[in-house]
């Protein structure tokens, strides 16, 4: 679908938000809204170099006809995107993927993000604070330094208790956000962690240590995974990761685009 750029702004060196608009872009086929954790495949320009679409997570659903992405200029595809200006067209496919599950019984969401990993988690925070008054949330946001802790203010504004950590100590605790998460759980666990779930997205090592911690405390952990994608819709089998097949007790390859991008961290073959 052809969408139009409404706004494309550099938040800090190399990090951008882009708002795009097209009829029904915030809706799934069935007409229901796109779900936090879903993503879109974008193509900026008709050139065959770069050839493939680029996946970006829904950052905020602005309306049924307008969505926002938060993205880092990583390589050529995102660099091309960053040069588009309001009024330019962009070719978009989506929303795609499963989104963050929110099974019945969840009462407290621990949102854990590192760097650009905050992108889909903001959509989750929006959803919880707008539509799920029954769920409380706490956010744990890490980054290299102050500037790279994205979205923390916004989380606080939503009334979500927000903890930050930076590698250089320029904001929040010095060190990894996972330490703070650990402290938090440790501190609260006597009240019981039933109905808790951790939602994580960020650098691979962070996801691994969050998953380990979730396991240690027996808390569910849903994590958004990345993988190189060609089609984004489940047809090419190119984006698989190893996932435990509970039925057979063996590991199988599952598609990040279609079976994910959100997986039960416990099932992932890290």
């Amino acid at each position: 679908m052809i969408a139009r750029i409404r706004k494309n702004e550099e938040l800090l060196e190399g990090y951008f938000i882009v708002d795009i608009e097209a009829e029904g872009i915030g809706l799934r086929k069935a007409g229901r809204p796109a779900v936090p954790g879903q993503f879109y495949m974008l193509k900026a320009g008709p050139s065959t170099d770069p050839l493939l679409r680029r996946p970006l997570s829904l950052h905020r659903k602005l309306s049924d006809d307008s969505v926002r992405f938060l993205y880092r200029r990583a390589g050529r595809g995102t660099a091309l995107l960053s040069r588009l200006i309001p009024g330019d067209e962009i070719d978009v496919l989506g929303p795609l993927g499963n989104g963050f599950p929110m099974p019945a019984g969840i009462k407290h969401a621990l949102i854990v993000g590192g760097g650009i990993g905050i992108a889909p988690l903001m959509a989750l925070a929006d959803y919880i604070s707008d539509e799920r008054k029954d769920i409380s949330a706490a956010a744990f946001i890490g980054g290299r330094s102050r500037e790279y802790v994205l979205g923390a203010d916004e989380f606080s504004r939503k009334g979500i208790e927000t903890f930050t950590a930076t590698e250089d100590g320029s904001l929040g605790k010095k060190g990894f956000i996972t330490h703070i998460l650990d402290e938090y759980i440790h501190e609260h666990k006597h009240k019981g962690t039933g109905g808790w779930a951790i939602y994580s997205c960020g650098p691979h090592p962070m996801l691994i240590s969050v998953a380990a911690m979730a396991k240690k405390y027996g808390i569910k952990n849903y994590t958004s995974m990345e993988s190189n994608m060609a089609c984004g819709i489940g047809a090419c089998m190119g984006c698989v990761i190893g996932v435990l097949d509970r039925e057979h007790g063996s590991s199988v390859y599952k598609k990040v685009c279609d079976d994910g991008p959100v997986f039960d961290a416990d099932d992932i073959v890290w």
Binding site: L51, S227, I233, A235, G238, Y253
Partner: protein
Amino acid sequence: MVKIKPSLSVKLGPLTLKNPVVTASGTFGYGEEYSKYFDLSLLGGITTKGLSLKPMQGNPPPRLCETPSGMLNAIGLQNVGVDDFIKRKLPFLAGFDTKVIANIFGNTVEEYEAVTARLDRAKGVHAIEVNISCPNVKKGGMAFGTDLEATYDVIRAVRNATSLPVIAKLSPNVTDIVPFADRAAHAGADALSLINTLLGMAIDIKNRKPRIANITGGLSGPAIRPVAVRIVWQVYRAVGLPIIGMGGIMNAEDAIEFMLAGATAVAAGTASFVNPLAPVEIIAGIERYMIENGIDHAHHLIGQVQA
């Protein structure tokens, strides 16, 4: 000039397609994914992901990476296996008014034969495409497609195991493809699919590792189009079999280029990843070109390059 609606139908040997556009194996799943984007009955045909006797896990990730105007993949032929395909995937495909081409492969001639036999008995399969050109599996695959006698043996075995039209999908990774096309013809193939991917490799200089876990992979997309067009042209002039041309076809212009070079039908592969509507847009574009150029039959495009 009276503009009449041209006939897009083509004959791929015994197999008649309502239009020359099919999907390339491995790039269209088993059709379900794309059925959300358009009516599959619009297609000339659907080629399935490669099917083997037993289900296959495929290669470890990362399985793909982008290259200039192309991509490398080493899926390793992950698939549900022929039985599961017949049980769970084929009924869905059979619901559309299009030709279903089952792409198959095996590790031995006997496996090719066995897969064929099962598909032959299944309802809703219209042709067998024999992949002897996959660069991404250790045994079988390209090992057959780069050996003249193995090519003959596999195609012959498939031919004897079915009355369905047999399409041989050849490897471009050979010095001269014509003898291979020739052997396939002698073994009883009804048509040829040209080309499969070129064997390639890419290295990430940051971590000094191959970009795909399998080290080498198959190069597809527009980058390989000139090679594919050349091969189609060479084979068209030398061998009597109809050709399904593929390799970097992104739009109708590219598809017409292949038909002019000698392809009777064309397949969209990597194009579907970039644009799920590519196959239907290609059909529409071919029709438009025919109208604009007063060509009433798609067959009149085939091999019409003035070379």
